[in-house]
Symmetry: C2
């Protein structure tokens, strides 16, 4: 499974044009905004995950991972963006919206996407060990639920993936230094 | 599947003693508190779902469904209870806690339970059409995730189920009356 996803990430990074039928320029523009959000998490020494939600070419919700600083299970990038988008739309349904997120969503956030009825999700890089939009399972595309979301993966995937790798490299170094002191 | 769960609900309601190794009196006591929460939702004409989270014999988080009144996808009973419990525990991990919820959690809330690492969940009645703690799938018990939760179902199940049925009966009546007027 891991290897398959690595290959898929690689293929999509090398040849994003293989994603037909989507506006690649627009997707990259909003993924850049999601990366900007992720960098706010990184600055707080949180895993750098960022998310924006777009409605009719306007960002209506932003979020970044604050789980550790906020001491809150729910402080994932996607949930924060959904909460803010709901406030903006004055609706618990986010129909006609697109979510851009730097890392494949976990089981909670994938579930929230289905609950919010978001029709399209664009993911930077996959999370083979814990992702629930294709890696462990795909909650976004289960016929048993009353909603399914379209999925595009690999938009600025290399950049999103490098950001995560750097974070974990530095985290390990911090932990090593802590042990020594 | 539906029929299996109906039979299971029935069996557990008729013979709760078949749930061995759990303190039934205590489970019922906290499920009553979850039902109290659910009734707050019912009073707002929301689907009557309530939840409490217990740590060392003390309720540290309460929640009830406010999705429509709050216009917020995240305003499910379980997520509200988790958010409050995290604040109380000053931790995003809710280890050693038990969640009591009147209805089987959806995909988002089941995901949040795993993310919060809640070790035990007690459910009133099952939700065959949308539940993700055994009905559609069981997110609480997937070996691929880094956490699994123990599950007890059918505690005051008849009462929880009757509350839901009454809500939907009255909702249909309200909708019918609306159409006529």
């Amino acid at each position: 499974m891991d290897q398959n996803i690595k290959n898929l990430n690689k293929e999509l990074n090398q040849n994003p044009a293989s994603r037909q039928g989507t506006d690649i320029k627009k997707d990259e523009k909003y993924m850049r905004e999601a990366i900007r959000q992720a960098k706010k998490a990184y600055a707080l020494e949180e895993a750098p995950i960022g998310c924006v939600i777009v409605y009719r070419d306007k960002i209506i919700g932003r979020g970044y991972n604050r789980r550790t600083v906020d001491k809150n299970t729910l402080a994932h990038a996607e949930l924060t963006a959904i909460r803010k988008a709901c406030r903006k739309m004055e609706d618990w349904r986010l129909e006609e919206c697109t979510m851009y997120v730097t890392l494949e969503p976990c089981q909670m956030c994938s579930g929230a996407i289905v609950q919010a009825r978001i029709p399209r999700v664009v993911v930077g890089c996959m999370n083979p060990k814990a992702g629930c939009a294709g890696s462990i399972l795909n909650l976004l595309d289960m016929k048993e639920f009353n909603h399914q979301a379209d999925l595009t993966i690999g938009v600025l995937g290399e950049e999103c993936s490098e950001m995560m790798k750097q974070f974990f490299r530095e985290l390990r170094e911090r932990q090593k230094a802590k042990k020594k002191s």
